[in-house]
């Protein structure tokens, strides 16, 4: 039997030691009529066979080695140095459980401590936990933390309409049993003052994204003004970030954010179809006892040597049970280690370079697209690496043409989330898009402007 080392003879011997005749005798507590049901599963395969099948399945996908991509919207194609996968392939790391026994878990613990340290450096926040599941769940956990800071007495959340739509949906899912009022999503987009006006003394937190879902960068002054408005009502200021943008952008710790969350996938993980990702979660130290998720702290051993342990666990479910700050147990430790390796490898210079390259290339693309008849760049605001383009046709039709004729994955169709943004596409450009690719996108758009869609046969016809 694959992965089971014992032989029949050994099993016989073990049964004799236990004092039963057959393995089946060990299952007498299972109600008889339900025992040993049939499992309708495919016949087992050898390693070579399953790998061949999986290779076929994987090759049925259009992967980024074979197409150019201008799609972001919360999952990004940034460069991943080779060292990252090398480190997280160390099976001392990846075959370990949660570091409950610190003496034999110093590798994971110190790596997570360094991850926490570098996230604090990146965001300029006091404390970072060792991860939540992803950006969306980290945002939902921020709301719960804000509720707990207010001892559950405040019931209102102000959430910007340009927080990632999936994050907003996740906040609703998480809080559906909590009787909250969530406002702000009908406010004018990018209008921080409109959000400030919605804050009252029942508001536990205000959530904004910077750069926001549509790519807009808010200045530290604009953000500080909203922070002040929140704090005037003792509400917490929650900021959703893109960690890559912090390569050059002023970090949220400098404009008085109370909780900073974000998707950490860009820090050393490939898009891998949406997961596993990394929920960044950082906050001011005064809230540490109300925070959720695992924290690694420095201490010393019996000989006074430096070491690391999971600490402040009394917040967590295994001790506080129904009074815990969250139910989270398993997190995304290995992805956090990948992020630590990424941040260490890139360093302050590398991360700034990644952010600047993305910025310059995105602005080059936007400038060129703006010159094309029929296409309009709606991002009249400062943007980082994503911008909005109004197209002369539905986004789906444009994207079908781009992949069919040019091998390009186009942008995100914004009309799904913002009905007034009909035919509007959110394009993303990173350091991984070279000029040739960008120019190809421009040429494709020029063809479309010239009426190419009308003359092309529609790609992929689902019957």
């Amino acid at each position: 039997m694959v992965y089971i080392p014992n032989t029949d003879a050994e099993r016989e011997e073990m049964l004799r030691t236990i004092g039963v005749e057959r393995i089946a005798d060990l299952f007498h507590d299972v109600p008889e009529p339900y025992r040993n049901p049939r499992l309708n599963l495919p016949q087992p395969l050898s390693e070579a066979e399953i790998l061949a099948e999986l290779r076929d399945m994987s090759e049925a996908n259009a992967d980024l080695d074979h197409v150019a991509i201008f799609l972001g919207a919360g999952s990004y194609h940034h460069f991943v140095p080779s060292v990252v996968d090398m480190v997280i392939s160390r099976s001392e790391f990846y075959t370990a459980y949660t570091p409950y026994q610190p003496e034999v878990s110093q590798g994971v613990l110190q790596s997570l401590f360094e991850y926490q340290s570098m996230i604090c450096a990146l965001t300029e926040m006091d404390v970072a936990n060792s991860s939540h599941y992803d950006g969306a769940t980290a945002t939902a956990e921020a709301v719960i933390m804000a509720l707990n800071v207010h001892r559950r007495k405040r019931k209102r959340v102000v959430m910007s309409p340009t927080v990632h739509p999936m994050y907003r949906q996740t906040v609703y899912t998480y809080t559906q049993g909590m009787n909250l009022t969530i406002v702000g999503e009908d406010a004018p987009r990018h209008d921080l003052q409109a959000l400030a006006d919605l804050i009252d003394d029942d508001t536990c937190c205000v959530i904004v994204q910077n750069p926001d879902f549509l790519g807009r960068m808010f200045t530290p002054q604009e953000m500080q003004a909203l922070a002040d408005a929140a704090h005037a009502h003792k509400a917490l200021f929650v900021v959703v970030i893109d960690p890559i943008s912090l390569g050059f952008m002023v970090p949220p710790g400098r404009y008085d954010a109370d909780i900073v969350v974000g998707e950490g996938q860009s820090l050393g993980s490939l898009p891998q179809f949406g997961g596993p990702y990394l929920g960044i979660f950082a906050f001011k130290k005064e809230y540490v006892r109300k925070s959720s998720g695992r924290l690694v702290g420095e201490t010393v051993d019996a000989e006074g040597k430096r070491g690391y342990v999971i600490t402040l666990s009394t917040r967590e479910q295994h001790i506080r049970r129904e009074k815990a700050t969250s139910n989270i147990c398993t997190n995304e430790a290995l992805v956090a280690i990948a992020a630590a390796v990424y941040m260490a490898s890139m360093g302050k210079e590398g991360l700034r370079r990644v952010a600047e390259l993305s910025y310059h290339k995105a602005h080059y693309a936007a400038k060129r697209i703006a010159e094309i008849e029929g296409f309009e760049v709606l991002s009249s605001w400062p943007f980082f690496k994503e911008f909005v383009v109004k197209c002369p046709a539905p986004v789906q039709e444009i994207n079908d043409y781009l992949i069919e004729e040019w091998g390009i994955i186009g942008g995100y169709d914004l009309s799904q989330d913002y009905p007034d943004l009909e035919n509007a596409m959110l394009l993303c450009v990173t350091e991984m898009n070279d000029r040739e690719e960008i120019d190809a996108l421009i040429s494709a758009f020029q063809e479309i402007a010239g009426g190419a869609l009308e003359s092309s046969v529609k790609f992929y016809l689902p019957t």
């Binding site: 006892r289 666990s313 009394t314 001790i319 506080r320």
Partner: protein, 133 residues
């Protein structure tokens, strides 16, 4: 095992808080037995001064590395003072539970409640029962 300290000059709640009265003010802390059971106290969270509490309300928290316990108000009244230095020196709860390790002071609204608490002898019996359990 039961060489815990029980002070005669105060009374005890079954949930292991003590209360010592001077005039209409009761000082509250946790018993020697309670601090011993918790082991090294690493954190205390105290109530806000000025809030009104009812007997039995959870008003403070005391934590060790592996446990977190609520501290209940043994008496009804208003919180008039807290041990401001305690959060920075949680080890005082272990070192001096009946002295430096006090938690808060209540201005009693119903002093008769004090008589309902256990005296040292009764509390000692209660602890012995819990230990034998």
């Amino acid at each position: 095992m039961s060489d815990y300290v029980f002070m005669d000059d105060r009374r005890y709640a079954p949930t292991h808080e003590w209360a010592k009265v001077e005039g209409d003010i009761a000082t509250v802390g946790i018993s020697d037995y309670a601090q011993h059971t918790l082991s090294d106290v690493v954190y205390v969270e105290l109530p806000e001064v000025g809030i009104t509490v009812a007997k039995g309300d959870p008003v403070a928290v005391v934590e060790s590395v592996k446990a977190a316990e609520d501290v209940y108000a043994p008496l009804s009244g208003e919180i008039v003072e807290i041990n401001e230095e305690l959060p920075d020196n949680p080890e005082w709860v272990n070192e001096d539970p009946y002295g430096k390790g006090w938690f808060f002071k209540i201005k009693m609204s119903n002093p008769a409640e004090y008589d309902e608490l256990l005296d040292a002898e009764a509390y000692k019996k209660r602890v012995a029962e819990e230990e034998g359990h």
